[in-house]
């Protein structure tokens, strides 16, 4: 404990260095804008801005990119509450009661409760991250290839199980992502796979062109400018304070959302999206007035907004402790650190304590900055939404091209982005969620390598996965989840995932 506190102090000394604090601020500001603007989610936002961090050191780069990530969670609530448009997917649930509150003239209060809840959820998440990540990293040193294989398989199955679209669709997307991850030189044998004599494909397909294409360009192709939003309301500063009754109604949902969000965050998958839905469902179930949900219930804003921020922070636990990306966003962050020569994993805390603790401390500072930024500047952020979409999207396309090209100085990557944009458009038409595809692409090389290394270790005996306690435990959890999913699949039983799919579809279309 004493060591942790001492290390955290080191982290704060790093985070408060003027340059680092500036990049945390910049990340939070840009992240909020990314969250506010429909069409650029956190994943595309981080990917596009990745080249900007090339001139920075590793600490500054991760501080800025993480600021964009959790800043976008804050910003996403603004459009949800004021316009009933989720700036990014995890804000879908906030639309329901946030917009209803806005229509009752309580937009300012809803924004304030969302911002305070986000701050509490985010800060609690960082607090637990501070305490949990270093001991977990020590444990993770005991992980060998069989454990990594089991953990990655669990991640994919958990993602499929928790997915709001159907199990089969998620598995299809994950398989496609894994397949794309097979492109390039096979690390074990040196064979070229599916590179079609293009030297650029020898290193495989990068996550940045795929993510920017699917989420950035794909969204633009699916959104004709005539359909874009025109009416925007902006609350005045004096209307931002909630009443005492509203604070009272928000208190417990914020507390529950914090815990729930963090726990879900550490499990692989699109945790921040799932956590906000579960929090909404939980609050509705616990409420003495469930009939108020959908008509402006304070708990319907406080719970989900808190949960999605706590989950965003929770997602950093497996990233920092195990070096495993639990979502496409954390995968891009790993890529960013690798570009700066820093390997993420159990050794990070010992080999680069300044990066690890500087990053953790910057999250405390960043969450505070976001609270200070979001409330007074809400009118400014809303102004951005007044820029006609017809002028906005050409600029976004330009940033997509810069972001992708600058990562490797490769025009082939830009072509891949374009192809992925078209694929993203088609996937949206057929109601596929592209997130598992990106996750599959990211974990494909690690999964394949750890599987084959495991088999080399055991002379080809698959029982190695069942003879080691950690991997056995992880495979048992995977088997349980698959069985549960298969039962509801065969019985065609409706559960919360089906409801989530309906709510998401309804909110996004409206």
């Amino acid at each position: 404990m004493e060591t942790t506190l001492h290390s955290l102090l080191l982290g704060f000394s790093v985070a408060f260095e003027p340059h680092n604090a500036w990049y945390a601020f910049l990340g939070c500001l840009v992240g909020t804008l990314v969250g506010v603007l429909p069409g650029i989610g956190p994943l595309a936002g981080i990917s596009i801005l990745l080249p900007v961090t090339f001139g920075l050191n590793a600490t500054q780069a991760i501080i800025m990119l993480a600021g964009i990530y959790y800043g976008s969670q804050y910003g996403g609530s603004t459009t949800s509450i004021l316009m009933r448009i989720p700036g990014e997917a995890s804000s879908v649930m906030t639309c329901i009661d946030g917009y209803a509150m806005a229509q009752k003239g309580r937009a300012g209060a809803a924004l304030c409760i969302a911002a305070v809840g986000s701050w509490i959820g985010g800060t609690f998440g960082v607090l637990v991250l501070t305490l949990v990540a270093p001991p977990l990293a020590t444990l993770a040193i005991k992980f060998g290839p069989p454990e990594y294989t089991a953990l990655l398989v669990l991640g994919l199955i958990f993602l499929a199980y928790m997915s709001s679209t159907s199990l089969v669709r998620t598995l299809l997307m994950a398989s496609l992502g894994l397949m794309l991850g097979m492109i390039g030189i096979d690390n074990m044998t040196g064979d070229f796979r599916y590179s079609f004599n293009l030297a650029e494909l020898g290193d495989g397909i990068g996550i940045v062109p795929v993510a920017v294409g699917l989420f950035g360009l794909g969204e633009i192709l699916s959104t004709p400018s005539a359909d874009a939003v025109k009416n925007v309301m902006a609350p005045k500063l004096r209307e931002l304070l909630p009443t005492r009754q509203e604070w009272r109604e928000a208190a417990m949902p914020i507390a529950r959302g914090t815990l729930l969000g963090f726990i879900i965050g550490i499990i692989p998958g699109s945790a921040h999206i799932i956590s906000s839905f579960l929090s909404y469902a939980l609050e509705k179930r616990l409420s003495k007035h469930p009939e108020q949900f959908g008509k402006g219930a304070v708990a319907g804003v406080a719970g989900p907004e808190t949960a999605n921020n706590a989950a965003s922070t929770g997602a950093f636990v497996p990233l920092l402790a195990l070096g495993i990306p639990t979502s496409p966003i954390t995968a891009v962050l790993i890529g960013a650190l690798m570009i700066h020569g820093v390997s993420v994993g159990p050794m990070l805390v010992n080999e680069h304590p300044d990066v690890f603790w500087g990053f953790v401390a910057s999250m405390y500072v960043g969450n505070l900055m976001l609270l200070a930024l979001n409330l007074p500047l809400v009118s400014l952020f809303v102004t951005v939404l007044r820029i006609p979409y017809a002028y906005l999207y050409p600029m976004i396309i330009m940033f997509c091209i810069i972001g992708v090209y600058e990562t490797n100085n490769s025009i082939v990557d830009v072509w891949i982005m374009l192809i992925m944009g078209v694929l993203g458009y088609a996937l949206r038409k057929f109601e596929f969620d592209p997130a598992p595809l990106v996750l599959g692409l990211v974990i494909a090389p690690i999964l394949e390598q750890s599987l084959r290394q495991s088999l080399i270790m055991s002379n080809g005996d698959y029982l190695i996965f069942l003879s080691r306690p950690i991997s056995l435990g992880l495979f048992l959890v995977s088997a349980t989840l698959l069985t549960l999913a298969a039962i509801s699949f065969v019985l065609k039983r409706r559960d919360w995932r089906a409801t989530l799919a309906e709510v998401e579809a309804g909110e996004i279309e409206s």
Partner: protein, 148 residues
């Protein structure tokens, strides 16, 4: 029988799986105990075909293919075409010229904006971005024959 969206999607995944198997012939499969470089791609292709077939079997839950709206397809196709032309010219013309032309084309050809506002906006945005990246963020951008 009504053709549904999942019939088409499932068939596309099966076709893709078959295509991958067809072009994987030269990759050594190895065996279960000692997988080669073609092992996992083969497994994934088979899985994708299985999932695709499942999607087709359960396609009754999806929308009829005919009800899918394609009103945005023309907009999407034009954006892709203009962006593709820009990508093709990017390394030849450089960042500034390519992006000014691309934004101008998107605004005029697709969005039907006036020539002057489109030109002013395109030049202003691209030049500001160039200055921001090259001089403030010290991130070099691709240059063309004119040096920018």
């Amino acid at each position: 029988m009504i053709l549904r969206a999942d019939h088409v999607a499932g068939a596309a995944f099966i076709a893709f799986g078959l295509l991958v198997i067809a072009i994987s012939g030269s990759l050594p499969f190895g065996n279960l105990s000692s997988p080669g470089s073609g092992f996992l791609p083969m497994i994934l292709s088979v899985l994708m075909m299985l999932f695709g077939a499942t999607l087709m079997v359960r396609a009754g839950e999806s929308r009829a293919f005919a009800t899918l709206t394609w009103t945005d397809a023309k907009h999407a196709a034009m954006v892709v075409l203009i962006t593709a032309l820009a990508v093709a010219a990017f390394e030849w013309l450089g960042f500034v010229t390519t992006n000014v032309l691309m934004m101008f084309a998107l605004l005029v050809a697709i969005e039907r904006r006036g020539l002057l506002p489109a030109a002013v906006y395109s030049v202003a945005v691209v030049v500001t971005t160039f200055v921001l990246f090259v001089y403030v963020l010290k991130t070099p951008l691709e240059t063309g024959p004119l040096g920018f």
